[in-house]
């Protein structure tokens, strides 16, 4: 900072001292290397009874008429010095901040500290997603017990007594009348006992069948079941609903195909497949689950007029959906809970 020339009314000794002190102080300001040194300069020149302020006391030695001019000169000197100090302070502070920022530089390429990762099990996550899709389509989820009554699991679903259809549903019995449900469809009877149409119901949960365990069979698995009864429901409505559902789940190009199949609780009964693009680009049909129009025997047994109402039902496996979407090839992995398996699905 350049010391600005200033006018002295009298070129007295004292005024020279002011000039001298100011020049010295400005030089010291200029030479300060850091804010601490600058602070020392400030104290030495502008502190109480120091530097310019010390010179103020000399005013008494001056003749009366020179005093105002002297005072003014000192004030001007103080102002000049203060401005210089402030400018230097800003400059040094910036410099010191820059130095500090340089010092504080870190290696941003170091790995991050892992956050504790709580994830949902892939079966739960898949079921949640399905609940959202079906919920958005107007289906109300209802829960049924895993330990189910025989009559809901079979009789209410139009299984004739001693019918071979039950061979595919080998069950774990707990008492004479209660078994581990072999299908979430068992909820149908419970709902129809309590409600009058129209209704749209969905349920999801664990099912059990007496099967040897291998990569594609398990005695414990998870199902989604959907059923609805309204006026004038047809196979076209079933196909339309499955189409929307499958496209939400598997992508907008997905198509749905029916094939005749037999389940005691639906007539007509079909299994449905979705179009699936293989890694090599070919499209295959993959069977997803069973479906059909709810059997008239079931509707009639709950006092629902089959002339007025009809309905459809479809079911599918939660594991199957996840396996299709992710390429998991062994059903057993889901209940093994291998950490290396679970951590793959955020």
């Amino acid at each position: 900072m350049q010391a600005e020339p200033f006018l002295c009314q009298e070129n007295s000794l004292l005024n020279n001292q002011i000039t001298h002190l100011l020049e010295q102080a400005l030089a010291a300001v200029q030479n300060a290397e850091n804010t601490e040194e600058l602070h020392a300069v400030e104290v030495a020149c502008l502190g109480r009874n120091k530097g310019l302020n010390e010179l103020r006391r000399e005013v008494g030695a001056l003749p009366k008429e020179e005093r105002p001019a002297f005072g003014q000169n000192i004030n001007e000197a103080v102002q000049i010095l203060t401005a210089a100090l402030k400018a230097k302070q800003t400059e040094l502070a910036q410099k010191e901040l820059n130095a500090a920022l340089t010092r504080e530089q870190i290696d941003v390429t170091l790995p991050g500290i892992p956050m504790p990762a709580g994830r949902l099990h892939p079966l739960t996550a898949t079921a949640c997603q399905i609940k959202q899709i079906l919920g958005g389509m107007g289906y109300e989820f209802v829960d049924g017990p895993e330990l189910e009554e025989y009559r809901y699991n079979f009789e209410a679903l139009n299984y004739p007594p001693d019918h071979p259809a039950m061979d595919e549903q080998n069950s774990f019995f707990v008492t004479d009348t209660r078994l581990l449900r072999t299908q979430t469809t068992a909820l149908q009877g419970r709902i129809m006992e309590q409600r009058k149409p129209p209704f749209r119901i969905a349920t999801t949960g664990r099912c059990f069948r007496y099967e040897a365990v291998d990569a594609t069979h398990h005695h414990t698995f998870h199902q989604i079941d959907v059923f609805m009864v309204e006026e004038n429901i047809s196979m076209a409505h079933l196909k339309g609903t499955l189409g929307v559902f499958a496209r939400e789940l598997f992508g907008q190009d997905t198509r749905v195909r029916f094939r005749p199949d037999f389940f005691p609780f639906v007539e007509p009964g079909v299994d449905y497949s979705i179009s699936w693009t293989m890694p090599d680009g070919r499209v295959r049909w993959l069977e997803i689950g069973g479906a059909g129009l709810i059997h008239p025997n079931i509707l009639r047994s709950y006092g629902i007029s089959t002339e007025r109402y009809s309905g459809f039902a479809f079911g599918l496996g939660v594991e199957r959906i996840h396996m299709l979407r992710t390429g998991v090839s062994d059903l057993r992995l889901y209940l093994d809970n291998h950490p290396r398996f679970l951590e793959q699905f955020a």
């Binding site: 019918h163 409505h237 025997n297």
Partner: protein, 692 residues
């Protein structure tokens, strides 16, 4: 069922490839699960279709049955074998007699007698066909019965006349204690639920299942009785279950065989035997029928309903044509109502809707458009599902991995012996691994811990929400539980530092966070009188909500912890979802206005007995009811020098605030003094400068 393509071609024209046929059958309802290329002598390769027949389609369990479906689907002609049988001399009435005691269980029983049979191997073409269909050739007579069963679906049985006492067949239920040695060499005890073919003295066959060894066709057989009968499906099925025996014959009877085809099968067998140079049957046949000439079965059908249920605009003619192809004839009734005349073999068709399916599959399901049901309803997860999602969320947010373990279990090393009486066993379990329903989720979590610890340092914080069962007043009852297992630090050690291992207080924090997020208040952790065998007796607590037991939390007993490959302490908790749900607050959470005046924070650091539970301190503090006392927190718990060993010093940080004004020192000090006094009186606390 194995269907050799060559054999099938005998009954209908198949001009397409095996793959194309498989596709047509599959899309028509007979799922072809695979095509096997079989090497035979006459032709190098014969495709054999592996066809899955659904349980309702017993009529398709034969070559003729599959051919009939193929002909319907591809609109080709069907040629089934039918040849008049030439007969030898004699009279059937003199040769044998049949008496059916239980016509409702055996609606039809037909028989022929053949004399002078020369037993030997069947011709190579027949053996070849049997083999490609999966049957082992035995001798000419047995092979013919099996061949006809495979060809027409009607099981036949040949008895050696020598084994039929008084040449008399009696169809009846077994008597208590009766026994039979069946063809497989097993001696079987019969019960009155089992239908038998008996002679004048004893059972000689289990009806629809298997013949007896005494009347088996063997090398010295000359005269045989050929049986072709219709048995009640449920009766055959029950016998299968009771005797734990299944045969090709019973498989078909269970799924219903065409009663009208009984004689045709008998005649076909005689024809084949004659072709093989065997003698013609004794003149006449026996045919005992419960209903001699059953009427054609009929269903009322409205084509308009077919169109409505399929969702395709179908004309009456199209409906009639589709049904015609599967052997159903339509007769006009009145207006748009028709009568469908059903073929005898389609016993599965019982309702109008069954015909809707027939039209649908013949017309082609690919022709059904996609239409969404009209109208809209609100949907979404159940209340219970939403509640469980709310439990899952804070547990996952606490860094715990959700797991899903088996509810069907066997004994585990983690079982509490005290639970033995309430565990729910599975009745028909063959394997110990699936012999019971889990009483608790904790053994499942520990099971994962016991094998995952060997290779993984992370994933030691896990939780599960699932069903558990226990016997209540003699009945199994189902509940939902949430359980957690916590071991080691919440996150794996990183390059900066080792994280501290979790302890009881950290687990309690997780539980408190969960309950807080659900809005559940009035939570108490109390030392249990009997914490359960799984827990460290000094480091376990029962969790109470408004005094109701909601679960347990504690450290794994060191003896159990030894079984795990981890060095860290293992913390466990399990909470009843039913109890938590009962304690959910009703109504929305209300807004509390933000504070307008500053808070004053003051600490107290009393010295108290190290034996004093924190709960006692809380009780003392709670006895001070001052509006300005906003909250307190335990911020430190000091033990050690210079304090004596039996003394500790908690630092409690109090926050004071008034809703109405800025607090003065005097106000705060007055309340602080009350707090000090209560701690002195109730906990024997001493403060800095005080003696003791």
């Amino acid at each position: 069922m194995r269907v050799p393509l060559d054999w099938l071609k005998q009954y209908t024209e198949i001009s397409c490839t095996a793959e194309e046929l498989a596709e047509r059958l599959t899309m028509g309802g007979l799922e072809v699960e695979g095509i096997e290329l079989e090497r035979t002598e006459e032709r190098p390769l014969t495709p054999v279709l592996d066809v899955y027949i659904t349980p309702n389609r017993g009529d398709c369990l034969s070559m003729a049955g599959v051919a009939r479906e193929a002909a319907a689907l591809m609109q080709t002609a069907l040629h089934l074998p039918s040849a008049p049988v030439s007969e030898a001399g004699g009279e059937i009435e003199a040769a044998a007699s049949v008496q059916v005691d239980v016509p409702h269980l055996c609606p039809r029983y037909a028989a022929r007698v053949l004399r002078g049979i020369r037993l030997g191997p069947s011709p190579p073409w027949m053996q070849q066909r049997l083999l490609s269909a999966g049957q082992r050739p035995i001798n000419n007579v047995v092979d013919v019965t099996n061949y006809v069963m495979l060809e027409l679906g009607q099981p036949l049985h040949a008895f050696d006349m020598k084994g039929i006492a008084q040449s008399r067949i009696v169809v009846r239920t077994a008597r208590i204690g009766e026994r039979i040695t069946t063809l497989d060499g097993a001696e079987r005890t019969l019960t009155p639920e089992i239908l038998v073919i008996a002679d004048a003295e004893k059972p000689i066959a289990v009806a629809g299942l298997m013949g007896g060894a005494d009347s088996e066709v063997a090398d010295d057989t000359t005269d045989i009785l050929l049986e072709s009968a219709h048995f009640n499906p449920q009766t055959v099925r029950r016998a299968c279950k009771l005797l734990n025996l299944r045969t090709e014959a019973s498989y078909r009877f269970e799924r219903t065989v065409d009663e009208a085809g009984v004689l045709a099968a008998l005649e076909r067998a005689c024809e084949l035997l004659q072709e093989m140079g065997q003698p013609a049957p004794v003149a006449g046949h026996i045919d005992v029928r419960a209903v001699p000439d059953p009427p054609i079965r009929r269903i009322t059908l409205r084509p308009s309903r077919v169109a409505a249920l399929l969702g395709i605009p179908l004309e009456k003619d199209t409906v009639a044509e589709c049904l015609q192809r599967v052997g159903v004839k339509l007769e006009a009734e009145t207006g748009n109502v028709f009568t469908a005349l059903l073929p005898t073999w389609r016993t599965d068709l019982q309702y109008e809707e069954d015909l809707v399916e027939e039209v649908g599959r013949i017309y082609g399901y690919e022709n059904i458009p996609e239409v969404l049901p009209a109208g809209s309803q609100t949907g979404g997860d159940s209340d219970w599902g939403r509640f469980l999602a709310k439990v899952r969320q804070p547990l996952a947010a606490a860094g715990m991995q959700e797991v899903v373990t088996h509810s069907l279990t066997g004994p585990t090393p983690w079982d509490d012996p005290a639970d033995a009486e309430v565990v729910v066993p599975v009745r028909n379990s063959l394997s110990g691994e699936v012999s019971r329903l889990r009483r608790s989720l904790l053994p499942g979590l520990l099971q994962i811990a016991s094998y995952s610890g060997t290779f993984s340092r992370d994933a030691r914080w896990m939780f599960e929400i699932g069903q558990v069962w226990q016997m209540l007043q003699g009945e199994p009852a189902e509940f939902t539980a949430a359980a957690g297992l916590i071991a080691g630090s919440i996150a794996p050690p990183d390059w900066r530092r080792e994280q501290p291992s979790a302890d009881f207080a950290q687990m309690r924090g997780v539980i408190e966070r969960l309950l807080d997020s659900l809005g559940i208040e009035d939570v108490e952790f109390a030392r249990p009188s009997a914490p359960g065998a799984l827990f460290h007796p000094g480091r376990a607590a029962c969790v109470f909500l408004k005094g109701e037991l909601a679960g347990v939390a504690g450290e794994l007993h060191p003896q159990h912890a030894q079984k795990l490959p981890w060095r860290e302490r293992v913390l466990l908790f399990e909470l009843s979802m039913q109890v938590l749900h009962r304690h959910l607050p009703t109504g929305e959470k209300r807004f509390v206005p933000l504070p307008r005046f500053p808070a004053v924070v003051r600490d107290l650091a009393p010295r108290i007995s190290a034996q004093m539970p924190w709960e006692a301190v809380e009780t003392a503090l709670k006895s001070v009811h001052e509006e300005i006392l906003e909250e307190w927190k335990l911020t430190d718990l000091y033990k050690g020098a210079p304090l004596p060993e039996d003394v500790c010093s908690p630092t409690i940080s109090f926050t004071f605030r008034s809703k109405h004004h800025t607090l003065t020192d005097a106000e705060v000090n007055a309340t602080l003094e009350q707090l000090q006094n209560q701690l002195r009186q109730q906990c024997g606390a001493r403060f800095a400068g005080e003696e003791g």
